[in-house]
Every structure is written in structure tokens, then in C-alpha cells.
Symmetry: C2
Subunit: 313 residues, 2 copies
Amino acid sequence: MGLYCFGIDVGGTTVKCGLFLTDGTLVEKWEIPTRTENNGSEILPDVAKAIQSKIQERGLQKENIDGVGIGIPGPVNDKGEVPLAVNLHWGFKAVASELSFLTGLPAKAANDANIAALGESWKGAAEGAKNVVLVTLGTGVGGGIIVDGKIVCGHHGAGGEVGHANVNHEETFACNCGNHGCLEQYASATGIARVANEILEDSEENSILRSYTKINAKNVLDAYKEGDKLAIRTMEKVGDILGGALSIFSCVIDPETIVVGGGVSKAGQPLIDCIQKYYKKYAFPSCKDTPIVCASLGNDAGIYGAARMVIKE
Amino acid sequence: MGLYCFGIDVGGTTVKCGLFLTDGTLVEKWEIPTRTENNGSEILPDVAKAIQSKIQERGLQKENIDGVGIGIPGPVNDKGEVPLAVNLHWGFKAVASELSFLTGLPAKAANDANIAALGESWKGAAEGAKNVVLVTLGTGVGGGIIVDGKIVCGHHGAGGEVGHANVNHEETFACNCGNHGCLEQYASATGIARVANEILEDSEENSILRSYTKINAKNVLDAYKEGDKLAIRTMEKVGDILGGALSIFSCVIDPETIVVGGGVSKAGQPLIDCIQKYYKKYAFPSCKDTPIVCASLGNDAGIYGAARMVIKE
């Protein structure tokens, strides 16, 4: 094991960069812009330059650096190749190979939600757990699966695509993926607002939520905490669907810890309690007490996980 | 890697034993009775004796034997310990340690459905696949998950307990596990018969199935193949539920191959086609073409997988 490693998390507008000690200490983090022009051809060279500069600035020896891990918003296979990353304007790219060539360091690539799961299992809310399910509730629902301390990227790079678990065969609205009834349609920020709107339309009852022109997930969760009846009805429905889905994931890999991240998770313990109530109801008996916790590394989860990937044992 | 290994699969009435070459060739298989008297205290000593006799009989050298793998009908943790195995009359037992002590060979233990999954991914229907979901449709529904060529036993030994994935939050009948709405309640042999009975009760239509005093899954599947309307309605419902559940498992680990085993799978391709139709409907786009195939090792899957566990790389 060397002394240092880099963790990179590529987003649609900025690239988060981190220099770590291999014991998990974050030495420094910084950001560079994501340049998507020319089919995103400058993104990896920009990352390589950022790393080279940091190595020079700190006078690091390359032989002391275990490598560079990088997270990409798109599917990544176990060779570190990306067939397509829409937000980066990429077609096929052999990300790990190219980044290794550009930096002269060992490199690994994985999906951004997957590295976040690895980060949380390394130094975050699931620290030390070898088997973890992470579900991120943001604009969409993403996720990552850790088994035996490693990311499960899956045969098509779709490991951890838990937002597209089909939880309602009767749904008539389409998900962004083209299917109908995906978890994301109920448990994302957008989904929670949609469920709330449906419940408001179906009811005559008063609700704080009726005072908003356009309801968002934060409005719903705030009203839920204040005891608003229709917000409660919304979150009970969301909790039933999400807790139920998590209970199925547990039947597959039986994780030590389930981590809930993403913007929606800022609602904190009341949200977790609501999910846990239904999880417990539906989970296989020996998994009923699996802890469900809020992610703790926030936006840094990705750089932690990316760095973790390349540490030599 | 040595030349030989043993694979043992303990059932409620017989113990299947296999001597393998480490290249996967089955040299010989045989059975001994499972003696459950005295809290099953003779089971592991009997297994050890069977192995010792085989070693003597064939004049094998212990240093040429990689070890003994054993499958147990119950949850097994990653240390090879069993908290409880009802069918064997066992309470807690450190199976791997005890078997290693008794035989003087390295030993590993795992759940019987899990070793079957490993067997199918080694030398069976999913030969060569590193990520596999096995679902066995028998009296109940069991399963096993293989990630990166290894069994996912899970934190509570409940990895691959896919029969207890909760697929119907509205179910009023209880599953054997105490929950309501488990996959097993619809897709096991018992479940298929139950669904058929419900459909027959709800309909006035003619059906071959009305000629049976007590319907079993084979009756339903035979009638399905003959085009019986109510049998078709039954299997479409079962296919919808099972195909949907498999599509969720794919969102978690994105397997290379899905294997369907157990007695019900003897119905063959018509059953697979029915499951695949619904799997394709609900699966995440990049996983829609994941092959679903019938298990090919039959009752030998367990000894193959048990043997595979102990091979030194």
C-alpha cells in the first residue's frame, strides 16, 4: 500500500477532486469545471492535469501514490469502460485506460452512485460494513451495492440501478427509462411531489400543501414533520413503497447496513423512521433489524469511494 | 490447487456426496442417510467417515485434496456457522470448523440453495458467468446469488432468500415465514396450485383443472401447455409476479444469467418463456436481454457448488 491516492467524481458541471492518505484521511479537496464541449473530449485530460499539478505542487513521489479512482455519471463496466454518458456528451470511452495513460498512474472507474456507496461503506454512515445497499433520493433515485467491500457493477454496468426496480405493475405514467412503475417514480424528490399532488387531488381535506403553487419534496417533508394529514398520507405511501423495495433488496444481498442519501435524505430521522416502519413490516425475519441510516459524507461520498477503489491491499 | 475436492449436500433424509477433480470432473457420487436422531449430532461425523473411507478406498493423498465443501438446509454465515437448521434438528453449529476438525481437511459451509447457485455458475446452466441469480421453484422458493464468482451469504446468512421478497403488500394469507405477500406464496409449487385454485373459484369457465380433486403445480403446467384458458391465466399471473421479482433482483446485482431450478422448472421452455415475457416488460432497459435459463445440474448442483467453494485458486 502506498501513502496517497486520488478520488475524482465527475459531475455534469464540476469535477470534484480529492487527495487522500490511504488510511482514509482527506488531505485536500478541490473542484475544476466539467468541459463538455467537443463531446467532452477535454474532461479526462483536464482531470489528468489537475492531478499532475497537485503532484508537483506537493512534491509527491509517484511510487507513493496507489492510483486514481474516478466516478462517472453513467454505466461503467468492470473494465472501467463507459458505453455512453449523456451528461458528459460521451459515447464509448475506456475511462480507466485513458486516465491511466494520461496520468501514468493505475486508474479505476465506476459509476458515480456506486462510488458513493463505497465511500459511505469506507468512511461514512456504514463505516466498516462489508455488504451495503445505498439508495440516493435526489431528482431521480440512484444507488450502489457493496458486496464483500467491493462495488457490484453488474454485467451491463447496471448493478445498483435500484431506482428502476419495478414496484408497481399497474402504473400508467412512464418513467424516464421508458418503463412504468419504477421506484424512482415515487421515492425521488420529483416522485414525492407527484404522489403528494395525486393525494391532494383525490381529497377535499385541508392541507398546508394547498398553499403552494408548485409543491416540491421539501414542502411535503416539512409539512409531514408538522403533522399535516395529507403530507402524512403521502409519506406513508412513499415509505410503504420504498421500505418494501429495500426489503426486497435485503432478500438478495442481506446487507449489514442500508444507507439513504441524496437531497431528500436531508429530512433526516423522521424520513428514516417512516421508511424503517415499512421495511420492518416486509423484510425477511432475520433481516428485520438491519439498520437504515442517513448518508454522512454528503457530496464527498463520491471522492472517498473513488479513492478507496484504487488502494492496494 | 490440489487434484481433488469433496462436495457434500446435506438434505433432510439423505446426504449427497461427491468426489471431484478440481477441474470440475465428477469422479464419483454416492449417498448416505441423514441421521437426525440425538439433535443430528451424528450427521457431521457420518460425513467425515464417508470422506475418510473414500480417501482410503481410492488411496488418495490428503495433500492432494483441496478440502470439503458442505451445503446445509438453513442459514449459514460467512464463517460457516449455522444458528439453526430445523430439518437437521440442529441448534447452533460451527459446521466448517467441526468438519475440518473431523476430517483434517480445510472445510467451508454454505446454505444449500447458495451452493446450488455456485454449482450452476461453475459447471451448469450459467457456466462461466461470474454474476448469477438462481431461483429454485420447489415446495418453497429458494435461491442463491453469485457475485464475482462467490456466494453472497449476507450479514445474517439471508443472502439469496429471494423466495421471501415481498411482492404483494395487499396479501392477506400468511407465508410460512410469518410475512404476507412473499414471492414463494405465488411461484412455488404450492403457490402455483393456490393461485390456480383462486382463479378457478373466481371463474365459471371450463377447465381441465376442474377434473382434479386436488390440483398440483404439474397439473397446472401440463394444462398450460395444452392451452387450457384458466391454466394460462394462472401462469400469466405467476409469470407476471416472478418475472417482475427477477427484474428487481437484476436492478440490484445485474447478473449475467438468471437460472431457474427446482421441481417446477421441469416444465421447461414454456415456463421460461412465460417468465421471460414479464421479466422483459419490467426490467431496466440495459438488463432486458439477460438470459433466463433452466438449471442443468438437477440434484447434483449442490455437490458441484460445495466442491467449488474449497478449490484453491
